[in-house]
Symmetry: C2
Subunit: 194 residues, 2 copies
């Protein structure tokens, strides 16, 4: 199915490979819009691509604010900076929430849960994020969750890019490429000024 | 004037100091909202605080898309991740554009221009960002700009935070603090669940 891979995927793979010594090269910043029309922005972990598609996977707690934001405005923008190669990928696209009640993607949600580390799984059993600090230390050391079945508040999020803006700061001058998804599913590549 | 420093400033100073070996620890991601109500997100360079205030300085080209976005929606959110100490600062606040026609802050704009490196200054004379790539290499090697007088399209941007969310991933469990600006100018600190 590699023919379905978007042409920007090879540049992204190369960046991931060349920055592989940095754990934070697998983190990016996801911007969404709040109900009041103002932006929100946070660091999330890249969890690979969804099957043979060009959709990026992240996971979140359904109690976190981004879930309500995405329900209200499904468009998001990812900013992904690679320190070693000094490249920035900006990906504009739409987000899909795959929570407990999603009708068709429960296998994908279960797979994402299974791929989480033990520590990662436990965080979904912690007290409500951003509420007043719970002083009971035991609340942060929950029993090991079921390795196979995601907890109710575990949410897989898929990000489907339709515009990818790659800026390479190392060039002399810098290089910049825009990839735009066309109506027929093809990607149009354009070289632009940095 | 150090009594005017917001209480989160000491935590930020410490993070900057402890991550000082990483050039990218001085970069953060700024989210804004486009006219169509969708988010935008990009990496920018921290240019220090504006005088004795708690306002962060960045600089931009007035031809860049974020300028129009900020004119339309002045609220932004900064996400600043420090890789070495594994801390995330999310700052919610309002942006002020200090371009060529700003009435009162031309001294600040000039100072920001003077603080730019030679290479940084030259980029403001490059061909229009994100337009079709200019193939004339000389266009990217402009004459040295005036060191003292900013070019017309040089824009200083001030970011005034009113909410600061600090997440320390290294804790066991993680620590999280919210600082909220009150009507009287004081900051309220609250410890919350990570």
């Amino acid at each position: 199915m590699s023919s379905n891979l978007a042409p920007w995927r090879s540049q992204l793979s190369r960046a991931l490979h060349r920055n592989r010594s940095l754990p934070n090269a697998r983190y990016f910043q996801l911007a969404t819009v709040k109900k009041n029309g103002r932006p929100a922005n946070r660091t999330v972990v890249f969890r690979g691509f969804f099957q043979e598609t060009n959709q990026l996977q992240i996971v979140t707690d359904s109690r976190s604010e981004k879930v309500a934001e995405i329900q209200h405005q499904p468009w998001g923008e990812i900013c992904w900076y690679f320190p070693k190669t000094r490249e920035q990928f900006r990906l504009t696209g739409q987000l899909t929430l795959v929570g407990k009640h999603h009708l068709t993607l429960q296998n994908a949600r279960q797979g994402a849960w299974q791929n989480l580390s033990e520590t990662g799984k436990k965080q979904f059993l912690w007290p409500h994020p951003k509420k007043e600090r719970c002083l009971n230390q035991e609340a942060f050391a929950p029993e090991v969750a079921d390795d196979n079945q995601p907890v109710d508040n575990f949410c897989l999020v898929l990000f489907k890019p339709s515009l990818v803006d790659i800026l390479q700061l190392k060039g002399e001058p810098q290089n910049r490429y825009l990839y735009t998804l066309q109506g027929d599913g093809d990607w149009l590549k354009k070289e632009v000024n940095p």
